[in-house]
């Protein structure tokens, strides 16, 4: 692999780099070995601790946890996206009396911790945990979707809207028929990246006692004994991360596909950067 930051390595540099790589790998392997030996002293690798995974009920509980996680994420995504579209349309409305209040609401929602919103719905409206988790996710993500789509609409060439209005479409028709389809296609990578965030945020359901994957881990550890906490946690975390990496890969794939075929087919889209906001 060559890079503009350094010369294509010559024989000496290659040797230095190889030695560096070996030392670096040894350090990492050493660190892992140290962690493993610490764990082994705790008896983590004893067969009986991992034997619980031969039990069907453990997998049933884990499966229920995954199901609860995915169903909350799916329901929230399905509601949040249309709501985000609606909020976006209101946010860019020509009428200031609509635009400004919506803007304040969006800023408010985006500035809130998601877990606080879940907690709020849970206590103030006295709903069950599932509804609280979904409502918290919907409120936050709809606001983020609205902002992403708005950025997409603003990135369109002005001529798109002007042309729409010129052929006699109303302002609303132009938004719906001309601008939104292009904006959504153009922002697809960011929208899918936000879906990953939404999926990750379902784990906040743990805090409001929703029976998702992490809560299932806690329940099993409480029930079976804390010596099983690490094995169960390890497996559950691996499942969670694997699901998220799969969805992230889809986002990267869509991004790559979108940059080869110019999104919208009119103006070549800038290589859309997948949003890296940490939430």
């Amino acid at each position: 692999m060559s890079s503009v930051l350094y010369d294509v390595p010559g024989p000496k540099a290659r040797r230095v780099s190889r030695i560096g790589s070996v030392i670096g790998s040894l350090l990492i392997v050493g660190l892992l070995a140290w962690i493993a030996s610490t764990l082994a002293q705790q008896g983590i690798f004893e067969g009986r601790r991992w034997a619980i995974f031969t039990r069907a009920d453990v997998w049933t509980l884990l499966g229920n946890g995954i199901g609860a996680t995915l169903s909350a994420a799916a329901v929230a995504a399905v509601i949040a996206f249309p709501l985000g579209l609606l909020l976006c349309l209101l946010r860019i409305s020509d009428v200031a009396a609509i635009r400004i209040p919506v803007r304040i609401v969006l800023e408010f929602l985006r500035g809130m911790p998601v877990v606080l919103m879940m907690f709020f719905v849970l206590l103030v409206f006295g709903t069950n945990q599932f509804i609280a988790v979904v409502a918290g996710l919907v409120l936050y993500n709809a606001a983020v979707f609205a902002e992403i789509i708005r950025a997409g609409i603003q990135s369109l060439p002005k001529g798109q809207r002007e042309a729409g209005l010129t052929v006699g479409l109303t302002s609303f028709q132009s938004r719906m028929i001309i601008e939104l389809p292009q904006a959504v296609r153009r922002m697809m990578p960011s929208l899918v990246a936000q879906l990953v965030v939404l999926l990750k945020d379902t784990s906040l359901g743990y805090i409001v006692a929703y029976g998702e994957l992490l809560r299932a881990v806690q329940v099993m550890a409480d029930f079976l004994g804390t010596q099983f906490l690490f094995p169960i946690f390890f497996v559950a975390a691996a499942i969670y991360i694997a699901i998220n990496i799969c969805v992230s890969r889809i986002a990267v794939w869509i991004e790559r596909r979108g940059t080869t075929k110019a999104a919208g087919g009119v103006a070549k889209a800038e290589p859309a950067a997948v949003e890296t906001a940490a939430k």
Binding site: S3, Q42, G111, M112, L116, F119, L204, T276, K279
Partner: protein, 216 residues
């Protein structure tokens, strides 16, 4: 309203604790994240591999899992913390560092190739190119996304409230349990204090963005 005014000292304590958690984790994450980004573009393959794996795994780990690991699993494995703040800071900074690394790396990629070529042609080595030429420019262009990551960090610190740390959200939970009839006011008070941090940071981000846009 009364419940907010009566408990203003508690809110204030929580606010300061949230600010403390976010600041310490933010500084650590900025430092570690920049190092990770530097490792990601370095000539040494092992460093590149490590950095890539770290970023990929941590970015796809739900924050709650990171907290659960730091606050509940680690102590069972014999790593005892004097205070749970330490666990919270470990989880928050390890998680945020991955996002900072990605942002800084995209900044490094945005620096024109000619800059690196010019630096190398006057004989600078990799460390000099990166620290004197590339990173100062890269960090400048990624200030707005970095601020957005820090805003997310402030909001993420609320998860600590569920893992034995009494910060804004933690106090909010206590107050909500103690004043069952005034939950709405209690939680709106918590929301207000979060907005007190996140809204100014958001305005700062968009201002900086506009300034940088003019400069380029």
């Amino acid at each position: 309203m009364d419940v907010i005014i009566e408990n203003l000292p508690l809110y204030w304590n929580g606010f300061l604790r949230t600010l403390f958690l976010s600041t310490v984790s933010g500084v650590i994450a900025l430092f570690v994240g920049t190092l990770l980004a530097a490792a990601r573009v370095s000539p040494v393959a092992a460093l590149r591999g490590f950095s890539t794996a770290y970023v990929e795994i941590l970015r796809n780990t739900p924050l709650t899992i990171a907290f659960f690991f730091a606050a509940i699993v680690l102590p069972r494995l014999g790593v005892k913390f004097e205070q749970f703040e330490v666990a919270a800071i470990i989880a928050l900074s390890a998680y945020t560092a991955a996002f900072i690394a990605e942002a800084v790396r995209s900044g490094v990629n945005s620096v024109p190739v000619g800059q690196a070529e010019a630096a190398r042609s006057i004989g600078m080595n990799f460390g000099q190119v990166l620290s004197l030429i590339i990173l100062p420019q890269a960090l400048r262009t990624v200030i707005p996304p970095l601020i957005n990551i820090l805003i997310a960090l402030v909001k993420n610190s609320s998860v600590a409230g569920a893992f034995f740390v009494l910060e804004l959200f933690g106090y909010g939970r206590q107050l909500a349990n103690a004043n069952g009839d005034q939950v709405l006011a209690v939680l709106l008070g918590v929301a207000f204090f979060y907005l007190l941090i996140t809204v100014p940071l958001g305005i700062l981000a968009s201002t900086v963005e506009r300034k940088v846009a003019i400069a380029r």
